[in-house]
């Protein structure tokens, strides 16, 4: 669902077809790791599904209960939202091995190792 007309900020924060909300995400990098934080309110650890896909890190988490804002907008008011869903674009290629994921106080933290295909030392003269 991409509205196109609206600014990036307003786009894709909810998806009627999926019945999902888009969570807030923060991506940072260290020298050899990519760290993804996802704010997942109303979610239990067991209901979080994480996958590394071609487009990035796919996060899907079912809410502990359906949420419906019955007085909001027009079409939105009839939607039962059941999940938080996002594919988080990653800043560089990563490998699946060595990935850690922790869930604490409603915030998911995923640490991924950067892919190192090439490691050739270059000497400076």
């Amino acid at each position: 669902m991409a509205f196109g007309l609206f600014d990036e900020l307003a786009q894709e924060l909810w998806d009627l077809e999926r019945g999902s909300f888009t969570p807030l995400v923060s991506v940072t990098e260290t020298e050899d790791r990519v760290i993804v934080e996802v704010d997942l309110p109303l979610v239990q650890k067991e209901d979080i599904c994480l996958r590394l896909v071609e487009e990035g890190l796919e996060v899907e988490a079912s809410l502990t209960r359906c949420v419906r804002y019955a007085r909001w907008g027009t079409v939105q008011r009839s939607c039962e939202f059941r999940t938080l869903y996002k594919i988080v674009a990653l800043p560089c290629p990563v490998v699946a091995e060595g990935t850690t994921a922790t869930f604490r106080k409603g915030i998911l933290r995923v640490e991924l190792s950067k892919r190192r295909d090439v490691n050739v030392r270059i000497s400076v003269t």
């Binding site: 900020l9 307003a10 924060l13 909300f21 888009t22 969570p23 807030l24 923060s26 704010d39 309110p41 109303l42 949420v67 804002y69 604490r104 106080k105 409603g106 915030i107």
Partner: protein
Amino acid sequence: MLLSSERVAVVETVPIEGCRYCVVGFPDVGLVSSIALGHAVLEARMVEVGYLESDAFPPVLVVHDGAPKPPLRLYRRGEVVVVVSEMPMDFPLITPVTRALVQWAATKGVELLITMSGIAVPNRLEIEVPEVYGVASGPPVRKVMEAAHVPALEEGFLAGLHAALMKEALATGVPCLILLAQAHLKYPDPGAAAAVINALNRLVGWTVDTKELLAHEDEVRLRLRALMQRTQQHMQEVQKGHEQEIPLLYT
């Protein structure tokens, strides 16, 4: 491009007299002030008494209960007037808005202007109950702050509407206090908002209960994703990064 002389009007829909405290909160770090004041307005059943308007504001209205309303509104209960905004403030509007508010507070004889925000801490998950710090405009306000058991922020930078409001208050001579709760930078933080409400209760003699707010923390975090995301861009514009730095003339 809005110049600082551009008019921002504080419009009273109900005449306001006898206002001792004016509490101002705009979307910022962790949406602390927005969550705190939004909760206080509903919990204390505050009455809508006015709004801010300017030709320079974007053409945005909010609809509540089917009624159209300006996004920046004043609410009142007893001696306290609260200013809340449902949108973050665009950078060029910050000075005119804060100037208009401080001038209004001065004409109303407000004894203490209080503003609040979060202060971003990287280890927020390790903090069970966020601390609230204060920045006072002068010794008399510092005494009030200490009597309310709010420790002083001694050295650092502040960036945002709360900093602009203090600048205007210092220039105009209106006593002003900034409350800062340790908070998540980029996620709505009802825990930090509850901490600020507790400090505010001690300062203005309120008894706003935070139990319901904390019981529905997750719902608040879910509902305010868009506002938090929109606020992030504004935080960059006001150079929020300064708040993580040590000042040059640190003693």
